[in-house]
């Protein structure tokens, strides 16, 4: 009787898990199948397999959607802004966490309040124009870095608190300067949170489409999300091509996610368990 009950429980549990996964996956599967159909077939958006597999859809998309150049644009924006975030945030949160008083305490709350700060695009445009950052690649990189600093600092600050201070003192007795201490000893210990910040911020920047819409006029500088937006405008009635376009833009992030999934979980909970 007991065994019987366990069997039923296992069956129900597995069925629930499979059902949930199916529901979550469904839109992606529909997109994937439709990306191989002819445009007539794809307008129905069904799960039926294509009558004829149109692999050439992908070639059309890569050529028409300017995917190669926009892929590299997106990669440049995401990589550089994430590197800037990681350098600035880890240095700042190291000093703030170790010496949490006076000006440092103020700086911490000042930046953390930025989590709540709304982005006012009209005012931001004025500031960006004054700094000569509109329509430039370095401008958008700096902008992405700035708007993602508050939450990153919040997560990194929580993590540094878990590294014992005795390490610093031992290093100083051995004759380390602050910069040597930070780069040589602290940074290697920050690997889990750095990986988390990398993955989270990379996904945020890669998936954003409002900033380039405002601050990059030249379509040669557009990242992939905006290329999809544009592509959809031009090929609204060819859902097979739009599907292929979406699948191609999803691939890089999915790849990063599969490689980094261990760290995404690790860092967020590292901050959380302590909180």
């Amino acid at each position: 009787m007991e065994n019987y009950k366990k069997l039923i429980k296992g069956l129900v549990g597995n069925l629930l898990a499979i059902l949930t996964s199916l529901i979550v996956m469904l839109p992606l599967v529909v997109l994937f199948i439709n990306s191989f159909k002819t445009s007539g077939e794809a307008n129905k958006m069904s799960l039926a397999l294509p009558e004829k597999w149109m692999f050439e859809n992908y070639a059309v998309v890569i050529e028409q959607g300017k995917l190669v150049s926009s892929f590299f644009n997106g990669l440049i924006y995401a990589t550089f802004s994430v590197i800037i975030i990681i350098i600035l945030v880890s240095a700042a949160s190291f000093v703030i966490s170790r010496n949490f008083k006076g000006i440092n305490k103020f700086v911490y709350y000042f930046i953390i309040a930025g989590i709540a700060m709304p982005i006012n695009n009209v005012a931001l445009m004025k500031v960006m124009q004054a700094l000569n950052l509109v329509n430039t690649r370095h401008g958008i990189i700096l902008l992405y870095a700035a708007i993602n600093i508050p939450l990153s600092l919040f997560l990194c600050y929580g993590f540094i608190g878990t590294i014992p201070r005795e390490i610093d003192e031992a290093a100083v007795i051995d004759g380390c300067t602050p910069i040597k201490l930070f780069i040589g000893i602290i940074v290697p210990l920050l690997k889990p949170i750095i990986s988390t910040l990398f993955v989270l911020n990379f996904m945020a920047v890669w998936n954003d489409f409002t900033m380039p819409l405002y601050y990059l006029n030249n379509s040669k500088q557009w990242p992939m999300t905006l290329a999809v937006y544009n592509f959809f405008g031009a090929f609204e009635n060819s859902w097979n091509l739009v599907s292929a376009d979406i699948i191609l833009t999803l691939l890089p992030v999915l790849l990063i996610f599969v490689i980094g999934q261990k760290y995404i979980v690790g860092g967020v909970s590292a901050g959380a368990v302590k909180g």
Binding site: K9, G10, N14, A17, T20, S21, V24, M25, P27, V30, K44, M45, S46, I87, F94, V95, R98, N99, V107, F110, I111, I112, A113, G114, I115, A116, M117, P118, I119, N120, N121, V122, A123, K126, V127, M128, A146, I147, I149, D168, V172, L181, F182, N207, F209, T225, V228, I246, L250, V253, I256, F257, Q261, V265, V268, S269, A272, V273, K274, G275
Partner: protein, 292 residues
């Protein structure tokens, strides 16, 4: 040892300058302009005191509806994501389920999609005549359930919130799983020897120990929900009418009408709401650290 020497202040300078210039400064300029009649039609800007704020909270303005929608969206999505995320986390850490890592990955995967893509995909899937969902419902004979998900005034807000939960629940699940795995199994063994049922264990062991994580997850969900824009913009753009309008879509609408002062006033109201909530949450977290 001199702390100020060992931890030099200039380490914080980079983050501070960048944040100040491109985040704080524009934000402040916006808040200052909320006390003026700034717009696109004249270059003259006059100080008007609290007039914009009074216009928002004036009983019969449509802005009250947007603020109400924002709050409903925040509460409903926070609860749905936390409850479903929690249930999935419990399911996908139990010994009974096979291929746990695979399921976890699949359920997390919508998180990596951009809102733009989610919007495009669901707009097409939920289309009343050609959409996947209605075609599917018709093919299994549930003709009556094939509704206009994104155009019916009563249905559209629940639809939007469901799509948002679809995208966000995986992240919450993953964070809660990490928390569950950090709870020692000794507690559960002791409890089951004492004959505690599953629900008793959940209520007396799991939930109290997960409290810090649930607080963190709530911060993420609430600050996201109050500031939601991309999701609604790409699915319905606040329509039909203003059925799904929230504060940030209203801000966008005012800005594109050239009504800059009103847009920035709405932004400022939102800023105050989020900042107040954040203050209380961070304060409550700090108190807990002292207790531990």
């Amino acid at each position: 040892m001199n702390r100020n020497k060992l931890y030099p202040w200039y380490f914080t300078l980079g983050a501070l300058i960048l944040f100040f210039l491109l985040c704080f400064l524009p934000g402040m300029i916006g808040i200052i302009y909320s006390f003026t009649d700034w717009n696109n039609f004249t270059s003259e800007v006059n100080f008007v005191g609290l007039r914009n704020y009074i216009a928002i909270f004036d009983g019969n303005s449509e802005y009250i509806k947007y603020i109400g929608n924002t709050i409903v969206f925040t509460i409903v999505t926070t609860i749905m994501k936390t409850v479903i995320g929690m249930a999935l986390a419990l399911l996908l850490t139990s010994k009974l389920v096979k291929f746990k890592t695979f399921h976890r990955m699949v359920i997390f995967s919508p998180q990596v999609m951009s809102y733009l893509v989610v919007g495009l995909v669901f707009k097409s899937m939920l289309h009343p005549t050609t959409g996947f969902l209605n075609n599917f419902l018709r093919s299994i004979g549930l003709e009556t359930l094939a509704l206009s998900w994104l155009t019916d005034l009563k249905l559209v807000f629940p639809s939007v919130m469901t799509v948002d939960t679809w995208k966000g629940m995986g992240y919450i699940m993953v964070v809660i799983i990490a928390g569950l795995l950090s709870i020692s199994s000794d507690y559960y063994e002791a409890a089951s020897i004492d004959g505690a049922s599953f629900w008793q264990q959940l209520r007396c062991i799991t939930l109290p120990l997960l409290k810090p994580i649930i607080i963190n997850v709530t911060v993420l969900n609430v600050t996201y929900g109050l500031r939601v824009f991309d999701m609604i913009y790409s699915l319905t753009n606040g329509g039909p009418g203003n059925a799904t309008g929230v504060i940030n879509t209203a801000v966008y609408k005012e800005f594109s009408k050239g009504n800059l002062a009103m847009g920035t006033t709405l932004s400022s109201v939102l800023f105050v709401i989020v900042l107040t909530l954040l203050y209380f949450i961070i304060k409550s977290m700090e108190n807990k650290e002292v207790d531990m």
